[in-house]
Symmetry: C2
Subunit: 305 residues, 2 copies
């Protein structure tokens, strides 16, 4: 198991994604913050703010390690106790200006816990998901087509399994509402072997830009007014609610003394809450929740394009 | 134990507070929403939006009851299992426009669980706390002087105990930062007897307006610009972080199928997050965290005015 290759892949992925997003934005570049974790490791947070296309794009790389996992991590996995651990990943959230461009999130990560004389315990996790404000059938189909392509070399059932996991995970129970139109979510992946699991994580990482960029390009110059902007700002509240109430990575990070500013880079720069807001029935705003945010098989037509 | 008197007090309190805030605002009135809880009970949510003084003021009354408490409520209090319960309270959060006027929160509540042939199990809880954006010594002293006055008839140690509990409770661990300058917080109060505990809850409820209104009056016409407004919007992010990550009432409400819109009425109507923002050292913005948000005895000078 060559952990350095995982590390190198993740750092390269951060570079690739930030370069590409920067090129699309055209107006503003990413600023980098390197930071150390006092208990071991550190990271590099890259943020682009107030661009032409992106209101905020945050792409984090981190690698943390230590002699002891926090109690919260070993409570459900006692086999991890007393092991040295190393966790690394790239995590990103993109909040565009234009309400017709969806917010996107991606994450790929690797965890390993070692002990002299014993086999390492390791797994990969990650995925990506899309959160539109205004729905477009073609965007949803494209996003899921690329999601499926990322999975196809790894078996017929892979896309369906991780698509379902994504729908289940990114769900706001207090709203009875999915966060977005889904994508892929996987965790605890340690089969069939390190090489194949690593290859799958790379495939997910590599398919994020092909999934997202065409959708950004298609809508970044769409005309919009105050109505669409207000709706976007209102819907961003759901993003905050999900990340602060449910997201395991966010809560674990905050509770375990992670770097707060890097963790909360996922939160949108401007958000509105409006008591008891209901979109007008039949409007594009109502269609978001009535149609697009209903979990469905976006590729039901069966094309494998 | 006359539960209807508690109910009546709480409904009257909602009326008194909304009338007074409406009079101060002068421009906009509260809208009322009555709602039913399918499993038993209901409430009345009153919201004032886009007023002259208040950007959003939400004052909730609710009374819920049922035959069985959720598992999460009985896990730590097995003596409650199998009892009929009744819970009622008033909860409010006020978000003013002017960044020089602090946000305030107050809550008073009563819980009782009954079973034929056994003594009822009951307690009162509540408190109020203040979250300024720009600090003023006189405001902090006034707020805590009224807090102390609310407690004084009930014993010498009461203010200090509930002031400390408030400082401990309204604390963002991931920021190492208190939410505001505190006030009072109490819970599980069932001594020395029902009448006295009820009287204390009423005293807290009755002292909220005398604590808050003079501060609103003092600053509602203070001049401010984009800088102060932006700082207020940024700091409101802390309010969201606290309520969604830590606040037990919010999380219990969301998890137990409470009315989401009434629970999340506490969230500010407009919020900003800004990656790694640091106020200029020595500025009024830095003074907020460096001085005002450091827990302290605001009445140390010893006056009992």
């Amino acid at each position: 198991m060559d952990i350095e290759r995982v590390n190198q892949y993740l750092q390269d992925l951060q570079g690739t994604i930030t370069r590409e997003l920067q090129a699309i934005d055209g107006a503003v570049t990413f600023a980098s913050d390197r930071w150390d974790r006092p208990a071991g490791g550190g990271g590099c947070s890259m943020v682009l703010r107030d661009g032409a296309v992106f209101e905020q794009a945050g792409v984090n790389f981190s690698e943390v390690y230590g002699d002891n996992l926090p109690a919260s991590a070993t409570a459900h996995r006692p086999e991890l106790a007393g092991r040295q651990f190393r966790a690394m990943g790239v995590s990103l959230v993109i909040h565009p200006h234009n309400p017709y461009v969806p917010t996107s999130h991606a994450n790929v990560r690797f965890f390993v816990a070692e002990k002299a004389g014993e086999d390492p315990i390791w797994w990969f996790g990650g995925g990506f998901d899309l959160t539109p404000y205004y729905g477009f059938q073609a965007d949803c189909e494209h996003w899921h087509r690329i999601s499926r392509q990322a999975c196809e070399p790894f078996g017929e059932a892979v896309y369906g399994k991780y698509k379902q996991w994504c729908d289940d995970y990114f769900y706001l129970r207090h709203r009875n509402e999915p966060r977005g139109i889904g994508g892929l979510f996987f965790d605890d992946l340690n089969e069939p072997d390190f090489e194949q699991a690593f290859a799958f994580m790379c495939s997910v990482g590599d398919h994020y830009l092909p999934a997202y960029v065409p959708i950004v390009e298609r809508h970044k110059d769409d005309e919009y007014g105050e109505r669409e902007r207000n709706f976007q700002l209102y819907r961003r509240g759901r993003y905050v609610e999900f990340n602060l109430v449910y997201d395991r990575g966010t809560l674990f990070g905050l509770q375990s003394g992670g770097r707060t500013e890097s963790i909360l880079m996922s939160l949108p720069p401007v958000v509105h809450w409006r008591y008891n807001y209901q979109p007008e029935p039949g409007s594009a705003e109502a269609e978001l929740t009535d149609y697009y945010l209903q979990p469905r098989d976006w590729l039901a037509a069966g094309d494998h394009g």
